[in-house]
């Protein structure tokens, strides 16, 4: 059996790989959507935070012998703490002014982080091995899927759905959403809004770092890994609708799959297909697929 001229087994294999990449897009765009939705900050440092997560894991293993499983928790915590620091030192001064300042500030921070790591470690990248427990591969019938990639999809889905649930379905999430609508009123009810906002940015940073740790065994840990990805992730968020959490998850997964299929049918276009879709979506639905029309 063939689908679009390629054997259906190969087709299923490519769908699966698209899903793996989509899982990364989903996790990263989720963090962006949360930060934008709750802080109104267009967080251009997101790619750098992702890179820092991967480097944190590598440094932990290389310098301190801390293995992957601990790094999976410790690296996001470290980067999350850095996120809190960034929010306290810089971002909190920017909420009341034009969003462009937040964008410029975070872009600047990203360039600084990237520059420092490029100076320290060069661009060739550092090798991080797949943890013993997840090495090897499983034969799915239509393809041999490395166990580690399956793990990535599972973790990502769990984290994405967990975050969505937390924000859309719990009391804490309700406070958060209310805080963005009318901070003064929520504050009046005795809720510490600045603390909540600070922790939200920290959590967004930790999400990016977690994606970085997950990516470390798959690609070379490299100072440029974030900037390679961030533009695509922004396109994902724009397509999904700025600030829409479920939108960014679904769009991330969907675009990963579409990009994966483009790699088969017209590989040369695989790096721009997301942007073509973005242009089309912006023309038809300027608020994005899942965004609310203003």
């Amino acid at each position: 059996m063939e689908i679009f001229g390629i054997p259906h087994q190969a087709f299923l294999g490519q769908l699966m790989l698209g899903l793996v990449n989509g899982a990364f897009y989903a996790m990263l765009s989720l963090g962006l959507a949360v930060i934008f939705g709750l802080l109104g900050i267009v967080n251009f440092a997101h790619g750098a935070l992702y890179m820092l997560g991967a480097f944190a894991a590598w440094i932990m293993l290389d310098k301190f012998g801390i293995n992957y499983w601990y790094a999976l928790v410790l690296a996001p915590l470290t980067v999350g703490a850095l996120g809190v620091l960034i929010e306290r030192l810089f971002l909190k001064h920017l909420y009341k002014i034009d969003p462009i300042y937040g964008l410029l500030l975070t872009l600047g921070l990203a360039l600084i982080a990237e520059g420092i790591f490029r100076e320290l470690y060069g661009v060739s990248g550092q090798n991080y091995n797949v943890p013993e427990l997840l090495s090897g591969a499983t034969n799915l019938g239509f393809m041999v899927l490395p166990n580690y990639r399956a793990w990535v999809v599972l973790v990502s889905l769990a984290v994405c759905l967990g975050t969505w649930y937390l924000i859309e379905r719990t009391r804490l999430g309700a406070y958060l959403r209310a805080g963005t609508e009318n901070a003064a009123l929520v504050q009046a009810f005795g809720i510490n809004v600045p603390l909540m906002v600070m922790l939200t940015y920290g959590a967004g940073a930790a999400l990016a770092a977690l994606a970085g740790v997950l990516a470390a065994p798959i690609i070379q840990v490299n100072p440029l890994m974030g900037s390679n990805l961030i533009i695509v992730v922004f396109a994902v968020v724009v397509i999904g609708g700025m600030g829409s959490i479920m939108g960014s998850i679904l769009t991330g997964l969907g675009l990963g799959v579409i990009e994966g299929l483009t790699r088969v049918f017209y590989p040369e276009a695989s790096s721009i297909v997301v942007f073509i879709i973005m242009v089309i979506v912006l023309m038809i639905r300027p608020a994005g697929l899942f965004g609310k029309e203003a």
Partner: protein, 397 residues
């Protein structure tokens, strides 16, 4: 009368400009990828090597100070060519060295030819530079795609690897390398089953590798470089592609091997023009580099030093920076230093020996950066495009 004054004024003006050309500093420009995928194999350290050559030459040539300018082309051909144009027009650049990325090198070669300036290509691989796109002012000094294909490709096909599939970087260099390697494969009785082209700086290779695997070819030829090569190797191992196919890296630098580690690269065969541990003179150069950068130099960084030094020697011998005279001096002289021995041919191709290396296993490697063992030394006449194969008009006299 007025006209005469004008002409006289102009003549004086020209004379002044000409003498300024001959007394100001001799400027050497270096345009390469300073910050992205190829920055480690060449980049800022490559620029520093050119400065070292200028210092070691004595800092002066023809009693004029030597000045080295560097710029980042960000892998964009238009940035590279406009910077080259600016330096030549405004700064009176004497010679330009082109770093990594063939797209940028092809663009700069056109500017150099138009403006008549010697253009030395180090990092870029496309053999078109001294073949279809050859120019009297271009020198292709280090390696090229033909030599990679002839040296690494021939050895593999002769060892029994007949069916090839290519994973190719989607730009000038990738096309050249895939094309040249295909020619070598076919000439030695092999076949090319297919190819897939990936965007430069693609981070995920799993999809491309799955396509390669389903081609059932014996050999996967990686016609890419730098970060693309390392990420493709890593994914190939993860997906077990290295168990069903033999993987041939067509352009591998020592930085890539270091980055991936011997466990991931052991047994890999590769062609290169220079290796830090090949002889005493090279080890001496490498030590000086290591003391500054805490890593070993790539062949490109060695070539950056060598080409700048030999250019300065040619300027000294010719007694001028005039492009035509320097080019004819360069093409007439023997090049013999720690980097390589050879001669620059009429088409600008520097003909020197290439070496086929094999990556050592972790057991065989005894000191840091001790990564390669020599499989074969291929004489320059066999490694590069022959005059008979060449389409460059400069070879047909």
């Amino acid at each position: 009368m007025k006209l005469k004054t004008l002409v006289a004024a102009m003549a004086i003006g020209f004379a002044a400009a000409a003498s300024a050309q001959n007394t100001g500093p001799v400027k050497i420009g270096f345009i390469t990828d300073m910050s992205s995928v190829y920055a480690d194999i060449d980049g800022p350290a490559g620029g520093e090597m050119i400065k070292w050559a200028a210092q070691d030459f004595g800092g002066k040539v023809l009693n004029r100070p030597i000045e080295v300018l560097t710029a980042d082309h960000q892998n964009k051909a238009d940035v590279a060519s406009s910077k080259a144009r600016e330096w030549i027009d405004k700064d009176g650049l004497s010679m330009l060295i082109g770093g990594t990325n063939s797209g940028t090198a092809l663009a700069m070669a056109k500017v150099a030819e138009e403006k008549k300036r010697p253009f030395m290509v180090i990092g870029a691989g496309s053999a078109r530079l001294t073949n279809e796109a050859c120019s009297p002012y271009t020198v292709h000094y280090a390696y090229d795609t033909v030599s990679l294909a002839k040296v690494a490709g021939t050895a593999l096909v002769k060892a029994g690897a007949k069916n090839w599939f290519f994973l190719t970087a989607d730009y000038a260099f990738g096309y050249s390398l895939e094309g040249d390697a295909s020619t070598v494969v076919k000439a030695n009785g092999g076949t090319v089953v297919g190819a897939v082209r990936h965007p430069l700086n693609a981070s995920d290779f799993s999809s491309f590798l799955l396509q390669a695997q389903s081609s059932k070819a014996q050999i996967l030829g990686l016609a890419n470089a730098g970060g693309d090569f390392t990420n493709a190797m890593k994914a190939a191992k993860e997906f077990g592609v290295n168990k069903t196919m033999k993987i041939a890296g067509l352009l591998v630098f020592i930085n890539d091997v270091h980055s991936l580690g011997l466990a991931n690269t052991e047994g890999l065969q590769l062609a290169d023009s220079w290796y830090w541990n090949q002889d005493d003179a090279s080890r001496k150069f490498a030590k000086r580099f290591f003391d500054k950068y805490k890593r070993m130099p790539s062949s490109l960084q060695a070539a950056d030093y060598s080409v700048a030094m030999n250019y300065l020697k040619a300027v000294q011998t010719a007694g001028t920076t005039d492009a035509d005279k320097v080019m004819s001096t360069l093409k007439g002289m023997k090049i013999d230093d720690f980097y390589n021995k050879g001669q620059i041919r009429a088409d600008g191709r520097m003909i020197h020996d290439m070496t086929l290396f094999q990556v050592k296993s972790a057991k065989e490697s005894t000191t840091p950066w001790d990564y390669y063992k020599v499989v074969a030394k291929i004489p320059g006449e066999q490694a590069f495009t022959t005059v008979a194969e060449s389409k460059c008009a400069l070879n047909k006299k």
